[in-house]
């Protein structure tokens, strides 16, 4: 009857707030870091959905023609125009990084410090190259195509605002993830998790990284392919 005792005797100040909110109960018998990361990702799902729904709304309601993503994002390679080539490469890079991340989590639980670190660094490098390609893509769109958040010469003005908002927010997530992964990699390498006795934190970092890939799946489908 520990819970009842808590409720009956009010502890003064912030300690009381903490005691009341914790209530000596745990809803999900998983590591707290994992539960919190899932809840954060749930809130992030709502944010990204709001962006994509906003994009759907402006695209439905505009009377100007929507620029053709297939042509806007094409690359000229050796005299050929390949539609969405850069975006396809970025997609494959992100999937590859998701694969190396999954392996890192697996080797982490096997307590293979060297392989886990190497795979985490590989994931971070792939993520950084994704951001680099995105910077290239943005530069091309801004400088060569003249696309701005408030208008563009190709058609509907909303194209730019939706594009910069959605891919910018996703790119910020990837950049934050790269830093997150490098910190985790350093901690694995320095034996921090061996001393802590658990590699769960690597899995939690993995959840964040897979989510970044997950969001890209939706952006790729709705913004680039639709």
């Amino acid at each position: 009857m520990v819970h009842d005792a808590h409720a009956a005797t009010a502890i003064p100040g912030w300690q009381g707030v903490k005691a009341d909110y914790s209530g000596d109960k745990q809803a999900f018998p998983v590591p707290w870091g994992k539960a919190m990361m899932w809840i954060f990702l749930l809130s992030d799902t709502f944010i990204f959905t709001c962006f994509l729904v906003g994009y759907m709304n402006v695209r439905l309601s505009t009377t100007d023609p929507w620029p053709l993503a297939s042509e806007v994002f094409s690359l000229h390679v050796a005299g050929h125009t390949l539609p969405l080539l850069l975006i396809a490469i970025m997609t494959f890079i992100l999937i590859t990084s998701s694969g190396t991340m999954a392996m890192a989590v697996n080797y982490g639980y096997r307590r293979d410090r060297v392989r886990t670190t190497a795979l985490l660094v590989a994931t971070a490098v792939l993520g950084a190259s994704f951001v680099g390609m995105q910077a290239f893509e943005w530069t091309k769109l801004i400088v060569e195509e003249g696309i701005r958040p408030w208008g563009n010469p190709l058609g509907a003005a909303q194209f730019g605002s939706a594009f910069f908002m959605i891919t910018g927010f996703h790119g910020a997530h990837v950049s934050a993830g790269v830093i997150y992964l490098l910190v985790t990699a350093w901690r694995v390498w320095s034996g921090f998790y061996d001393r802590k006795g658990t590699y769960e934190t690597v899995e939690v970092a993995g959840l964040y990284w897979h989510f970044v890939d997950l969001v890209w799946v939706f952006i790729f489908a709705f913004f680039y392919l639709w």
Partner: protein, 105 residues
């Protein structure tokens, strides 16, 4: 205890899902490459997208092996977003028709 070392599964399963994601991404890229149009294009894009998202959440994010309470807590709330999508689609259509009627010559 089985849970002591958390989520541990054979490497093989990750490699298979990895390959599958590559194949599905290639398919969705080919939808654009071959200029498929209309309902065929949209249904293929949505199918490949949902398959990819499902495999990432289920296998890479280990949702398959989590307890039902956590699955429900994370996977059910986003369903409410379908209402937002439906409302905004209706609203967008309405705005489009209003613009056609009022602002175009």
């Amino acid at each position: 205890m089985a849970q002591a070392e958390g989520q541990q599964h054979p490497i093989r399963i990750y490699l298979w899902i990895w390959l599958l994601l590559f194949v599905l991404s290639t398919f969705s890229y080919l939808v654009d490459y071959f200029h498929l149009q209309g309902y065929l294009r949209w249904s293929l894009i949505i199918t490949f997208m949902l398959l990819k998202a499902g495999f990432i959440v289920a296998i890479f994010m280990h949702m398959t092996w989590e307890r039902l309470a956590l699955k429900l807590a994370i996977l059910l709330p986003p369903v409410s977003l379908l209402v937002l999508i439906a409302f905004m689609a209706i609203e967008g259509q309405h705005t489009f028709v209003t613009r056609l009627a009022s602002f175009l010559p």
